[in-house]
Amino acid sequence: MVPLSYYLLLSGILFGCGVLGFLIKRNIITIFMSIELMLNGVNLSFVAFAAHWHALSGQIFVFFVMVVAAAEAAVGLAIIIAVYRTRETLNVDQVNLLKL
């Protein structure tokens, strides 16, 4: 028996690490991975709550999050490739203009 709050705490730690990664990482791809980390953290709390409330729809939400994450990964990585092609850098600090 693990208290629900442990799961939530783990989920919170993962989410926090994601936010922190977004703040301190410079590589766009790593920043993108931080987003995925946040999504995973949230997914864990969904599943934990689903188990806690005995409601399967919590797990369904995880699927939707995954699908959205997949769509986001496809588009986001395509954007990253396009950015790299035009600027030849992956450092976000150097990608601060909408127009070259």
Binding site: I31, N96, L98
Partner: protein, 661 residues
């Protein structure tokens, strides 16, 4: 009989036609456009006939709830339709005459630019008019009311490249707005006091109120305001000025909207609200006085007009005055009866006039016509029937309805001999100017332009190289003939008050108002009344014939006389010929102050220095603030993330604090 569940199709079918033609007409062939317009309108007419054939007085009125619309607490307005004898008559008149005029339009408008537009507008008009007629509550009626106004505006301004047509459209729209303003306030009063706009509920509530015999009260106010609306739509004093100008529209439009159907909406509305008017004798008297004055006033203007359509326009105003006179003396069924016969013969007159205009290549000035009897025999024949009908010569339709109105004006408890006398004088004048038109147009010699000098009228008639006047095609003559038959026999339904009895469930069902003839117990009184009625009838028929004789004398026998009379009358003639300078008076009294006031106060004062200044200042300050704030938007992704994280922390802190507290 169960109520016909397809009643709602009647208005919706023309709407479908309008939608199809409006959306796809630009790229469709004219044949397809005509087919769609005619099929949908004709289907509507067929539906009306079908419903009429299954109509039984015992089951009337029927209600049909189509859909919910407004539901706010106890107040509810639905898309629901109402069918009783009154709306049935209107339904048949509108769909029947409307369909004939659709057919006619195919011939008349075939060569016009924007043919599809015209047909779509006509169908749209049918939709709104039928909504108006079938509505079960005042708000739905108001929708139809505004909708026909819109269709009327679009069709008057159909040749919108012509300044006068565009101006006429705007004039009609604006003048109607004044009337609608009154109508709307009446509706607000009804909502405030009766909490509903539904006919049955409002009338049931009104029924329990005592008649306001002395002084004025709520019902009188409502009645007067409704009359303001009716005066706007039905071109009564003082709001009649738009109708003559509306003749800028194509002639089928004048026939359909500005003679047969839309302008009678006011009469229908007053008749529909008879419960209110019956309990407000003051309002009733005002209606009668306005109607009587309009009848006389417009008739006198009609004498001096030379434009064939203008004559008919003033004649329409005058006849509408008759209808209001009938309503004003609480003889609503007589008013509706005249509405029906008028729809036949005035529609016919306009269509025949259109045929004449078509035949002579767009000329509208009667002084340049003449002798057309030889060139266009069918038009002449039908026009003759219509003229005799409007002049009140028995046994044509106009005789019965007009005679009934005149008799009611005299005999009704709300009536008076003054109304009757003015009515007879108007009948005489009507007869005179109509026969004047008849003689000037069809008799004598053709005074028009020679071959090749075709005056092209508006948008119609490109490719109409005109020489000799010619008869119109059968697609136009067909409706003329049918309407001629109706103008001839249409009045016979009024013999022995059959029409009255048919409508009596609508107007007398509460048994408050009884005509003297119907209630009088003594045989002697009845006999005396009948004798009196015959005498009065004889007088009005004599007036009609007197007008015929005078017109014959002046415009056929002694052509030189009119000039001399006009010269000897001098100022009076000029006043009449210039429509009593009413337009100029309105311009001086209302339009000019309004324009100048708007320029000085509203535009320069309010708009520029208050509204514009406010907006500009707001924009300026926004720019100043943004100028300072924009440095936050550095373009650095991580900075944005920092802001978001800080914001998230604040939100979490707030939520935790709320939770702890």
């Amino acid at each position: 009989m169960t109520p016909n569940p397809y009643l709602w199709l009647i208005p919706v079918l023309p709407l479908a036609g309008a939608t199809i033609n409006g959306a796809f007409g630009r790229r469709s062939s004219k044949k397809a456009i005509s087919a769609i317009a005619l099929v949908f309108c004709g289907a509507s007419f067929a539906m009306a006939l079908w419903i009429a054939s299954g109509f039984s007085a015992a089951a009337a009125p029927y209600y049909f709830d189509l859909a919910h619309w407004i539901r706010a607490g106890n107040f509810q307005v639905d898309f629901s339709f109402y069918l009783d004898q009154l709306s049935l008559v209107m339904l048949l008149v509108v769909t029947g005459v409307g369909f004939l005029i659709h057919v006619y339009s195919v011939g008349y408008m075939w060569d016009a630019d924007g043919y599809y537009r015209f047909m779509a507008y006509l169908n749209l008009f049918m939709f709104f008019m039928l909504t108006l007629v079938l509505a079960k509550n005042y708000l739905l009626m108001f929708i139809g009311w505004e909708g026909v106004g819109l269709a009327s505006y679009l069709l008057i301004g159909f040749w919108f490249t012509k300044d006068s047509a565009a101006a006429a459209g705007k004039k009609a729209f604006i003048v109607n707005r004044i009337g609608d303003f009154g109508f709307l306030i009446a509706l607000f009063l009804i909502i405030q006091h009766f909490g509903s706009l539904d006919f049955t509920r409002v009338f049931a509530a009104v029924h329990s109120l005592p008649p306001e015999t002395e002084g004025t009260g709520l019902l009188t106010s409502i009645g007067l305001l409704l009359m303001v609306g009716a005066a706007g739509k039905s071109a009564q004093i003082p709001l009649y000025v738009w109708l003559p100008d509306a003749m800028e529209g194509p002639t089928p439009v004048s026939a359909l909207i500005h003679a047969a159907t839309m302008v009678t909406a006011g009469v229908y509305m007053v008749a529909r609200s008879h419960m209110i008017f019956e309990r407000a004798p003051g309002a009733l008297t005002v209606v009668a006085v306005i109607g009587t004055l309009t009848a006389l006033f417009a008739a006198t203007i009609g004498i001096a007009q030379t434009d064939i359509k203008k004559v008919l326009a003033y004649s329409t105003i005058s006849q509408l005055g008759y209808m209001f006179m009938a309503c004003g003396v609480a003889a609503f069924s007589a008013g509706i009866f005249h509405l029906m016969t008028h729809a036949f013969f005035k529609g016919l007159l306009f269509l025949a006039a259109g045929s004449v205009i078509h035949g002579v290549g767009g000329e509208q000035d009667m002084r340049k016509m003449g002798g057309l009897r030889k060139y266009m025999p069918w038009t002449f024949g039908t026009m003759t029937i219509a003229t005799f009908a409007i002049a009140g010569i028995p046994p044509l339709a106009g005789f019965f309805s007009k005679d009934e109105i005149l008799w009611m004006a005299y005999a009704s408890p709300h009536g008076s001999w003054v109304f009757w006398l003015i009515g007879v004088i108007t009948a005489f004048i009507t007869s005179f100017y109509m026969f004047r038109l008849w003689f000037m147009t069809f008799f004598g010699d053709y005074r028009g332009a020679a071959a090749g000098d075709a005056h092209v009228h508006g948008g119609h008639g490109s490719g109409h190289g005109h020489g000799e006047p010619h008869e119109s095609p059968w697609v136009m003559l067909g409706p003329l003939v049918i309407l001629a038959v109706l103008s001839f026999v249409g009045g016979w339904v009024g013999i022995h008050h059959k029409f009255d009895f048919f409508l009596s469930p609508v107007f007398h069902q509460h048994g408050v108002l009884e005509i003297k003839v119907a209630t009088a117990a003594e045989e002697a009184t009845i006999a005396a009344m009948e004798k009196l009625e015959l005498t009065l009838t004889a007088v009005s028929v004599a007036a009609g014939f007197l007008g015929l004789y005078l017109a014959w004398l002046l415009y056929h026998r002694r052509r030189d006389l009119p000039e001399k009379i006009a010269a000897s009358l001098g100022g009076l003639y000029r006043a009449v010929a210039n429509k009593y300078y009413v337009d100029e008076l309105y311009a001086l009294l209302f339009v000019q102050p309004l324009v100048e006031g708007s320029t000085a106060i509203l535009w320069k004062g309010v708009d520029q220095s208050v509204i514009d200044a406010t907006v500009n200042n707001a924009a300026d300050s926004a720019r100043h603030v943004s100028d300072n704030v924009r440095h936050m938007q550095s373009g650095n992704l991580r900075s944005y993330a920092g802001w978001v994280a800080a914001g998230g922390a604040v939100v979490i802190a707030y939520m935790v604090w709320m939770g702890v507290r």
